[in-house]
Amino acid sequence: MTWLVPLPVLLPLLGAGLTLVLSRRPVLQRTVSTTALSAVVVVAAILLYQTDRHGPQVLWIGAWKEPLGISLVADRLSALMLLVSAVVTLAVLVYSIGQGMTGSERDTPMTIYHPTFLVLAAGVANAFLAGDLFNLFVSFEMLLFASYVLLTLGGTGARIRAGTIYVVVNVVSSALFLISIAAVYAATGSVNLAQLAGRLDDLPDELSLVLQLLLLTTFAIKAAVFPLSFWLPDSYPTAPAPVTAVFAGLLTKVGVYAIIRTQTLLFPDSPLTDLLLVAALLTLVVAILGAVAQSDIKRMLSFTLVSHIGYMLFGIALGTVMGYAGAIFYVAHHITIQTTLFLVLGLVERRGGSTSLLRLGGLARLAPVIALLYFVPAMNLAGIPPMSGFLGKVALTDAGIRVGTPLAYVVVAAGMLTSLLTLYAVAKAWNLAFWRTPEEAHDMTRALTGEAQRTHEHHVVEHRGHVHIGASTFATMDREEARSIIDEDDGSNQDLFQLSQQDALPTRLPRTMVGATASLVTVSLAFTIVAGGLFGYAERAAEDLLDRDGYIDAVLPGGPS
């Protein structure tokens, strides 16, 4: 059954080509992309069963004799990641079809969206299957390029600004990745992961430490680990809701996956446990404090996204079976939950006109379904028992206490604190956006800001021949002209109360959007029900990771050379 292995990459790529050809036939385009991603879900499910039953599935592309060609490897960890990401991408695709982005956002061309989205899905799948470092690099580039296009879709001012930072950070991190690959190749003469596993052991400790640090830094940028996470909360929230959702769910997790893979396979006796623990600690605490301070729900969730990467890193840093199992479980849970929350925010934005806590209020009465769809995953994110977020945190806490070093205890405590602060942040959003009445929201905002429009009135400065308005800069021109550009960019300045008084908001949302979100909420709840089985699977995957021989033997049956 090894012919199944490349399908999660090939099907979306074929779909991307077809949808590009069919760009003038929107209905066919939708059918093609939905079919491709549904097929990937099926293939990933079969692969999950196969790898769990028969061990890692390996395919050497082009039938080159190993270890010469490019290998695709699906082991338990890859198969689980593939399945979860396939389900999530399918749900997001259905949601974005429902949103019909051409309708609601005039600047977002849907014809480009489908092929790009499929390339993104292919890139993510390829990253999970890559059996050598360079293939991993290529898949990173695939998904990054798709993400550049998706992030700057329509090319509005805000998106170009956010996109610039995102693109530059990622190109620099790709250059760093290439440097690490060059260094690894110079030191060992191979880029195949299974072959590297044997050869890196023979290197002097200092040299292998340098290589490890290079790779870790690269992946830490992608995964948004604390000192390297500043690009994320600024760039994600400006994109359209489904795009942010799929980025938040998948892209950082690909980085986490790469950290898990290289840490276990290439550097099994890592001397960096303490460094990783400190990074996990700082990621957890600093980012959640950022989340607490936000007054826009999208930005708040971007910060919780960064913060919860700390949990996964904690599991990885511990380096025990329990630690890895907890991290794997948490990755699967977090992909689903974070995507769901961003999809819900898309619904909130459509129904309430904004995601700013200053403008929202009373959504629980206006839109009880959205309120429910927000409440369940939000509580899950914060880790309320018996949901999967709670179970994942318990597993990681348990793993930390079993390791029992003082630093591990400190990170466990920070994990608890983060969980509480997450609850505070999502509950604050709940109280303000859903619970109070729109009139209260309107009055409070007016009282806070003094005069009516001051929050939205931008600070105008003329400086060195440019006009600065808010955070944007313009070449010398009429101030009024500049102001009109900004106003157009910001959309409506009115809050929910004013908008609903004018009946300016849609009261009915497309069924596909609500349906896709609801089904993801159901999936996230199902994690609780199948938690026993899933955790058993995660534990088996973690054992596979720590006992490298199964992977190496499957890839190189003739023994490493």
Binding site: G157, V167, V171, D234, E439, E451, T473
Partner: protein, 148 residues
């Protein structure tokens, strides 16, 4: 393995200049920086391939004096990718110029807001909202058309 010092110095110089240019404010310069960075890394790959040799063509005699083909394949891939990156960044710089009349990388909105608040020594909106300051402490401005 012996490495060529010239190649290493060239790679270091290019990466150094690249990093300097990436730190610039104008997107066009950043793009040139990214290009130099990428080319420096490509030269680094040539270093990792070891000593130069004959063209590596299969079944063309003794493999011993041939140069290592793999880094060249990797560099080719990297060149293609950096071509696409350059095209994309150029498009973004042009779009930025269309929208704002220049291509400077702009400030993080939130960062600017925090600096403004710090300068004014004021609390953020989210703090005021969460602490419910709006309810009693502040005076409600009059507004026409609001139901009493």
């Amino acid at each position: 393995m012996t490495a060529s010092l010239t190649l290493i110095v060239a790679a270091a110089a290019m990466i150094g200049c690249g990093v300097y240019l990436v730190l610039e404010r104008s997107l066009t310069r950043v793009m040139v920086g990214l290009l130099m960075l990428g080319n420096g890394v490509n030269v680094l790959f040539l270093v990792s391939g070891g000593a130069p040799g004959r063209a590596p063509i299969v079944r063309e005699g003794d493999p011993e004096p041939m140069s290592d083909p793999l880094p060249q394949a990797l560099v080719l891939t990297a060149i293609v990718i950096s071509l696409a990156t350059t095209a994309f960044v150029l498009a973004m710089a042009y779009r930025s110029w269309q929208l704002t009349g220049h291509d400077d990388v702009q400030d993080d909105v939130e960062d600017r807001e925090i600096r403004r608040l710090a300068a004014a020594d004021a609390a953020s909106d989210s703090f005021d909202l969460a602490s419910g300051a709006g309810e009693d402490d502040l005076e409600m401005p009059e507004e026409e058309g609001r139901p009493a």
